[in-house]
Subunit: 244 residues, 2 copies
């Protein structure tokens, strides 16, 4: 039975990190909410599970993955599961822990990226926190983004098993997630990223290598890849990007 992925159908969001891993693993999965309502799809399918009082181990929020009777939630947790079962993570304990550690750091980075446009809270519109967003984004682009990107550049540089990957000698799920971070930052902050990329050549190279992997390339060219937009985590608001 194929995996079932439950996530908002209109955005890449956190679900995209899972989609990339499932695509690279080449496993069968259904992106449930993107199926027609009449065929058990739509957002309703996800809300049914979230609101079902008979679910013994409910998720807090999407994305979650259904495999048999089991629901697995939290992006990094889903990825650890996929990594272990589909050869997208080192198999030794040290490598597995390191992959999880790096993924959690990517998750922290992602929260800060999201909060550039929503510093006061997800419950308010962007338009109602535009000034605060400007202030937070300036700090993000000056301090936080360089700190995270500098870190991942160092991780690649020092990886004793090969500087082309974040952990171990081969591709693992954090590599796919870092690809997505670069893609998203390019979309959201094209001017700032043009500058930042020059200082982080190994990250740029990793992004390129991932983009060229046959399954990822096919996915990116397909309709399964939802375009970036202003409902997701990575949003392009011109006024927030760096000055020319």
């Amino acid at each position: 039975m194929p995996y079932e992925l439950y996530y908002w159908p209109e955005i890449q969001g956190r679900g995209e990190f899972v989609r990339l891993a499932l695509e690279e693993a080449g496993v069968e999965y259904v992106d449930v909410c993107r199926q027609p309502d009449g065929k058990g799809g739509g957002t309703a399918a996800m809300l049914r599970i979230l609101q079902d009082e008979t679910v013994a181990r409910p998720p807090f929020a999407p994305p979650f993955l259904k495999t048999g009777d089991r629901l697995i939630a939290q992006t990094a947790n889903i990825l650890a599961f996929i990594g272990a079962h589909h050869d997208l993570a080192p198999s030794d304990e040290g490598g597995r822990l390191r992959a999880n550690e790096l993924q959690l750091t990517i998750a922290d980075f992602l929260v800060e990226i999201h909060d550039t446009h929503h510093p006061i809270g997800s419950g308010f519109y962007y338009e109602d926190q535009r000034e605060e967003a400007r202030r937070r984004t300036a700090d993000f682009l000056k301090q936080r983004a360089p700190k995270y990107l500098g870190y991942f550049e160092r991780v690649l540089e020092r990886n004793p098993d090969g500087k082309e990957h974040l952990v171990g000698a081969g591709l693992s799920y954090p590599d796919l997630s870092l690809f997505q971070i670069v893609a998203g930052l390019r979309y959201a902050f094209p001017r700032a990223m043009a500058r930042l990329e020059k200082q982080h050549p190994r990250i740029v190279a990793l992004h390129q290598k991932v983009a060229e992997r046959p399954r990822i390339a096919a996915y990116l060219a397909s309709e399964r890849r939802i375009p970036f937009n202003e409902f997701g985590i990575f949003r392009h608001y011109k006024e927030l990007d760096a000055k020319r």
Copy 2:
């Protein structure tokens, strides 16, 4: 050789979730930065590792745990390690994944708790984002805290293996972390929590049970437990708490 924990010595912070697990596990550990400078302690000991260019797999930030030659960073990752090695997590894959999922949800909650007093960024003083903090905290107390607490109450209520624990039939590390969340929220928002607790009796009961465990009780009464203060994640600013 005892574990070495590296974390800021003046605050509970994220390190506290690790301290609680190490204490409950009853394993030997050194809280390195709380040792005297002259004996290899102090914050300098932590910065030395973070800045050491020969470290092959550097952490992004504290807390991190050193065991032998291995450094393990990211709170939830450290806890997964301690849980697996010291019987503080279910041993089956489903239980292990669920414990990690819940811990990551606690981590998300914690970020939102922190951001109540730092919505614009950690790089600015609280005094320079007081107005924004007021706005974000109001939303947090009205929408977000009830959402998270309601979720964990449901998780306890529905746990098929016993309503006294978050996952499985026995104590696991997410239970210890939820204890800490309650302790911290009581410190930071005493008025808001007094109301919220009435609606979440199972969470309150879990907090109490954890507090009474012999090793935790001894720890809380010891000097190893750093008091809450206004440098940590849980801060008490009277103007941010709910009105009387």
